[in-house]
């Protein structure tokens, strides 16, 4: 490392690092550790037993199903939105970006509420749905809708800056070599954005599986039917089944850790890429 004369003394550095690490340890690391520690309070056997209840298994299945529907939807949307926004110029573009970001600034509970107001028993379309024997609120479609809303901006938000930076040269080169639109997208654009896309998918997926507030409002908490993993954690916790609650929670925490590791690896790869680029 290059020797820097203009910086803090070694002592100050160590003190500052220590304070920062202590803060992170207390506020971030300790909660994470406590999840696993509480989950294993009754030993491995207790942990496995808590996961293997039919309600827990059905919550896991539902959570995977929700993510499997909502993440691909947002991937398609995210790619379409960032293609439209970064490859063309049209008026109102920054307004469009702001609107895409809108779900970020809405409380999760409110996100759930708006779908209750639309599709709930007393909602705008409630009567029509009841007449046709369709159920959205307190059923899986409602959970999907709320999740899609909550995770709406994730993929687009990762791709827009990336594609903006990459410009249109590669696509124009492909077209000048005779490629059509789809060929250009598959062979040139998609490989260029794959890591950014994966990054967005990871974050989108983590949020989709972990969303609590919005899903809580629309789900109805029907055990074995409309309970996702985070909701199941709440139910178990409120029933004082702490081992069970933390066992399911530890699965979600494990997902978070996997996400973080993958994210770090991707960030490292990104640097590698931008370094090799010029």
């Amino acid at each position: 490392m290059k020797l820097r004369t203009v910086t803090e003394g070694k002592g100050t550095q160590i003190v500052l690092i220590a304070i920062a690490l202590a803060f992170l340890a207390f506020f971030v690391l300790l909660p994470l550790i406590s999840v696993f520690s509480e989950a294993l309070k009754a030993g491995i056997g207790g942990f496995v037993a808590a996961i293997e209840t039919p309600d827990a298994l059905s919550a896991i299945k539902l959570t995977l199903l929700i993510a499997a529907i909502s993440v691909p939807l947002n991937v398609v949307f995210g790619i379409a939105a960032s293609w439209a926004i970064t490859k063309y110029s049209f008026p109102g573009k920054s307004l469009l970006i702001t609107l895409i970001d809108l779900p970020f600034s809405v409380s999760p509970v409110v996100s759930g509420l708006i779908f209750v107001l639309l599709f709930g028993a007393n909602g705008l379309f409630g009567g029509w749905l009841a007449a046709h024997d369709l159920k959205i609120i307190f059923a899986v479609p409602g959970i999907v809708l709320a999740t899609v809303f909550i995770t709406f901006p994730f993929v687009a938000r990762e791709l827009i800056p990336l594609m903006m930076e990459q410009g249109k040269d590669d696509e124009e080169a492909a077209l000048s070599l005779g490629a059509n639109g789809w060929q250009t997208f598959w062979h040139v654009t998609l490989p260029n954005i794959r890591w950014g896309l994966l990054y967005g998918v990871l974050l989108c997926n983590a949020r989709a599986m972990g969303e609590f507030g919005a899903v809580s409002v629309v789900s109805g908490h029907i055990r074995g039917e409309t309970n996702t993993m985070p909701l199941h954690v709440e139910i178990l916790y409120n029933e004082y089944d702490f081992v069970g609650a933390f066992a399911v929670a530890s699965l979600l925490a494990g997902l978070a850790l996997v996400t973080l590791v993958a994210k770090s690896v991707l960030e490292w790869r990104f640097d590698l890429h931008s370094g090799a680029r010029h």
Binding site: D169, D170, E172, A173, A174, L175, S176, L177, G178, A179, N180, Q183, H187, V188, P191, N192, H273, A276, R277
Partner: protein
């Protein structure tokens, strides 16, 4: 033959091109020369089909291609930053144009590989086909971009600032090499540059552009020796501009004689060696205007504070427009 007729183009409020007419013969090597914002790149992109003109037509061999897509115009385009596909190997990059052809027009895999190897040999990169663009030097990337553009067997090769991103030494080598390649392959080529030296050295004909208009079209010799407008005179080569009777007088520093009597009196300010001559910077005593001129290095070096009398050997008078 390429014919461009009455092309205009605006970007919002900014008029990028107005009323461009240009004809380029088969086999010609043409430079579009101008400062940034002169519209030269826009014109190149319109010829390629990467940009749309607002009015006017582009003809290839008498056919109006104005409404033909870039993919259907069969032009080779070399981008300023090369736009190589980073995730493909060099060979895959070169072969791209062949692999995206419709199935019935597409050569076999073996034929494509063969052709890519051939092109890499042509650009002297044989053996580097398995590398990725990120592992090449700037000059090598440039040649990959060229090979890729040539793979679709274009009749017309368009290059946007082809040497802009390279350092001086590599630039000089590549220039000569490109010139040879152009001849050898019987191409018609148009390249954009802001570097007058590059344009004069490389091109059969130079199109000097400024503010979206063509200022002059001619051979390098004509452009340099016979600039038709004050802009060309000033932009191409070094030029002194002094006020004269009935307009502005332009003359080159090497077109100046030092005389014993008559002429204009110059107060020498600074002298340095430039090639085989002394370059003198000084001020016209009468008008306080700065001038530069060359004095044969066989003569004694003038010194600051000297007074010399000069007469332009050749000069051009431009009337105030």
């Amino acid at each position: 033959m390429i014919k461009v007729q009455n092309i205009t183009k605006r970007f919002g409020d900014f008029p990028a091109l107005h009323g461009i007419d240009l004809e380029i013969q088969d086999g010609e090597f043409v430079a579009l020369l101008g400062p940034s914002g002169s519209g030269k790149t826009t014109l190149l992109r319109i010829i390629a089909g990467l940009e749309f003109q607002d009015t006017g037509e582009v003809f290839f061999n008498g056919n109006d291609v104005s409404r033909l897509k870039v993919a259907d115009r069969q032009v080779g385009f070399v981008f300023q930053q090369y736009a190589l596909f980073r995730h493909m190997t060099v060979a895959e990059n070169v072969a791209f144009g062949l692999t995206v052809k419709k199935r019935r027009e597409r050569p076999s895999k073996a034929a494509i590989r063969e052709r890519a190897d051939e092109l890499l040999r042509l650009v002297q990169l044989d053996g580097l086909g398995k590398r990725y663009p990120g592992q090449l030097s700037g000059g090598q990337r440039q040649r990959v971009a060229l090979a890729r553009a040539l793979a679709i067997e274009p009749k017309l090769l368009l290059l946007d600032e082809p040497f802009g991103a390279l350092d001086a030494k590599v630039r000089k080598d590549l220039r000569r090499w490109l010139r040879d390649l152009h001849k050898q392959m019987g191409l018609t080529s148009i390249f954009v540059t802001h570097d007058q030296e590059e344009a004069l050295e490389l091109a059969d004909r130079v199109v000097v552009m400024d503010h979206g208009k063509i200022e002059q079209v001619g051979t390098p010799e004509e452009i340099y020796m016979n600039p038709q407008t004050p802009f060309v005179s000033h932009f191409v080569g070094e030029t002194n501009r002094v006020a004269g009777e009935g307009g502005e007088v332009h003359f080159r520093p090497h077109d100046v004689d030092v005389v014993e009597e008559g002429g204009e009196l110059v107060l020498v300010d600074n002298v340095f060696r430039k090639g085989g001559a002394w370059r003198v910077e000084g001020m016209l005593v009468e008008t306080d205007l700065l001038v530069e001129f060359d004095v044969d290095a066989a003569l004694p070096q003038p010194a600051a504070g000297d007074r010399l009398r000069i007469v332009p050997r050749r000069s051009r008078l431009f009337n105030p427009a």
